[in-house]
Chain length 305, copies 4
């Protein structure tokens, strides 16, 4: 990886940060600085390159759906998990409720829309939601090699205060038997997980872990190859909200975005990538982040297709 | 590639041909023999291995959406093409009409559902649908190195006689301006393309061509890398109807199926794959074919994720 | 009925003709004069009062769905008719196709949305669509006591040229078995029926006929009370497109509107009403016409509720 | 009214009670006796006739949506009320959530589906839901001349325990700003109102009140004619769930049903009707009750159409 070429792409795409808009449906997220652009790339050989605002902190938001799904895969058989959640990509929005009523099996379409992530969290080990929360947090911390990942309390309170759409999704799933536990404590755990504060290095580590099919930098195996490949397949087909198809065509790597402005990418067998750019496009993905990943994919020939 | 291991997988999966059912909505397809199982693998170094009913002939059906999209990409700028068609994977069925009304832009969700393929065909070069038909046919023949690919007239007549759902899709798109040409002649070309008769070698050649990003066996370049990657991205996210997400998770290669029982797969940089198994699963994909591809993917470590 | 009070309401509501807009999706309808306002009331005792542009001619458009349904009721048992068409009011638009796919029985929701009217026409007596056309036309002429009702050829050609949405509906119903006859000739008959040219007196006669539960002015019985009541019930619940509920609440009489600007109303046991006002509201109903009917309903205490 | 003819119709329709099934989604309702059939007719001149199980008690369920709408109309301007709720009949089920997402204005379709009734209750006068509950209860008691109408505590607890679908609806409306108050206390009031225990006389009184456009038996005016007509119009178009259109065609009077087995009907200017028959048809309406009302409508020529 040649630093100067990447620096040039950082400069080029920094201008695009002015074109998007920070998320506004969670009030606390409105306070983010839209002009930030950060990048961290972590190669499987351990070398790490970082640029721009790579140490700025942001909340993981939907990126946490990846460790949630990982925990659900570790704690359940595939058969059991897919009795509750499908693996269908969708053109509907990430918080759409329509398919819960119209699809005959009532299952969330996939684990990366909100309903599916909430259902996946309900299947993580732990009697109480608090235990499920700790299970996912500890997994995330170990993968990121960062014991300091914590909840941003202000964002958490803001999510909880304005999380009525997620409540609608959860109560709907409760009414159809997809959720079997109490709704409000589960959502509390979900809101706290979405509010975990990370930086580009943390999410690049998550990508690195998937790029190596389940190994930490210390070669500790936390998951098997099958689980990691399944996660990357879901990322590739559903990871960028309803922009997933376009992202596959234009960038071509498994990735998961969050409305906090982060994008976590995986180049299988090669590297993990973490990007920050809080100004979002119409799909809810970091606008400059997607453009930067497009350019990096061209530069390094990352596309898996 | 070790022939004896593959032969074992062929035997193992041949039993699964009894579990699916041949397509019945096109009367002529009901005549297919559900017990067939054929395989052809064409490595980028030119070596070809074939098994079982690899020389049985079947109609391409939705597999032809791949050369249709290729022709549309060759004959239009990306910008122009995506004014008419989106790139969104979907959990709706391949012949669903709902999103043409409910999505605000009225565009087909992607080029591999019926509405999107019909729209793509309308954008292939040629004043008359007959020319569009010949353009796609010639492209397919050159890629497959087989000038004998022809329309199965009985299937074509059956498709045309029972193609009212496609007429509904096409007239709907005509009413919203997505289609700009006369509907019935365009559908006639579409029905003939779906009725092209191929064998496992022909579709494996298509996969080989995409695996090499646009080169024929004679190293003739018919398309650039960008177009081929886009097609593979659409295959990976939308190629297996509403079973695309599950196929990505379980098999992990870009593929396109047809209700004639064929599946065309691509292992980028490695090989093209053609499978035949007319008995279909609930998504409309070859049931034994998907299981065989799963086993082959495990054996040869094909997953791109 | 006091003429001067009505004249005052005509003056008051004539101003509202400036607020709506003539239908534009059928090019020929764009030529209509939006400032027209006509009224004809025909009491069951035979007295007729008319005002304003009561002799201006316009095309019946969806108002013809009433004689179509009447003919279908005369020519079929209720049981047979409702194997093909439901009686459900709907909040969807008059030309929506979504429910044909999403409702499990695939039947048009009711006989007054386009799909339902086309299905009803297919069940009118007559081997050929031409005969079905004549059957409805003759029924309409006899009820209106006007043998001169004819097709407006320019509007018919315009409807036919731009009727692709109706073709989509019809081919969809053909694909699910709701329609059993050839689509294009049936639509030709449908387009001609929609293009029948009438005036306020003609449609008031239709209302008069229903107000008297099946009797012409000459006391000739053309339909029984049950059929007429069913039609009025469908008018009351589905007659004003997706403005039917609001119209019931605000005006309170069974009515059927057309995008040609006409509204045909029935005050059961009292009178038939015909209104013309080509400028339409957002539901596709005559804007000034609805307001005039509201005022007339207040004045004469017409509400059936 | 001739008692012997009605008694004959009671006997005839009592047999149909065996064809339906009591509501099962609220566990406590499963305990109802499906064989009950009760009738009370209350003419505007004060005469009351009652038959069968007219004194059996049942919970009002959706019938309470009528006094809820009445209270909302009394406590708000029409303009304000219809900023929150539409008046559109619908073919969707009473607890459907789809249209809250798909309709651009996000408003409940009408006040008689669950979402609309919850929204209407939120607009009833009272700072706290407890006050809204008392407001509706007192109104119902005064109209029914029955101060003993009380909550059935077992049914209330059962509704509350299993009311997750209503929670989904309410939280969805909270997320879009339709609901402005806290969800759970409002739903608590809603569940208690649905659980009010009544008999055929109580609901016939409600019909009597609407038949007289707002007058109690003591000629006390509790509402004006306009509000009562609006309510009857909504009953006529939306009162019998997705069976409203068929009921209009086959019975022809404004009515409101509840899954407790009750149907409250109004013959404007003539009488109020209360029916009990806990075995329900596929729409959720009393099966024998609808058939009895059909026969009574024929006998007494009740249809308003």
């Amino acid at each position: 990886m040649d630093k100067s070429h990447v620096e040039e792409l950082m400069r080029k795409n920094a201008r695009h940060t002015a074109q998007g808009a920070v998320a506004s449906y969670i009030p606390e997220l409105k306070k983010q600085d839209p002009s930030l652009l950060g990048l961290c790339m972590m190669a499987v050989d351990g070398r790490t390159l970082s640029f721009g605002d790579d140490r700025s902190r942001f909340t993981a938001q939907s990126i946490v759906k990846v460790p949630v799904l990982l925990a659900a895969l570790l704690d359940n058989s595939l058969e059991r998990l897919f009795q509750k959640i499908n693996l269908s990509p969708t053109a509907d929005g990430f918080n759409s409720i329509v398919s819960l009523e119209t699809k005959s099996d009532k299952k969330p379409l996939n684990p990366f829309i909100n309903s599916g992530a909430i259902a996946a969290l309900s299947m993580v080990a732990g009697e109480q939601p608090e235990e499920k929360f700790r299970r996912v947090l500890e997994l995330f911390r170990r993968i990121a090699q960062n014991p300091h990942i914590e909840v941003n309390e202000a964002v958490y309170r803001s999510e909880k205060a304005t999380g009525d759409r997620n409540r609608a999704l959860a109560y709907y799933m409760k009414s159809t038997g997809i959720l079997e536990c109490a709704v409000e404590p589960l959502l509390d755990a979900y809101f706290r997980l979405c509010s975990l504060e990370v930086d580009c290095h943390d999410i690049a580590s998550l990508g690195y872990f998937l790029a190596r099919n389940g190994l930490t930098p210390q070669d500790e195996r936390l998951a098997d190859r099958g689980a990691c490949r399944l996660i990357k397949a879901v990322m590739a087909t559903c990871g960028m909200y309803d922009g997933s198809g376009e992202f596959a065509a234009m960038v071509g790597i498994p990735a998961k975005s969050g409305v906090g402005g982060g994008i976590m990418g995986v180049v299988p067998g090669r590297c993990g990538v973490g990007v920050l750019g809080p100004a979002l496009d119409e799909h809810g993905n970091s606008l400059a982040g997607v453009m930067l990943l497009h350019d990096l994919s061209e530069l390094f020939d990352w596309s898996i297709y």
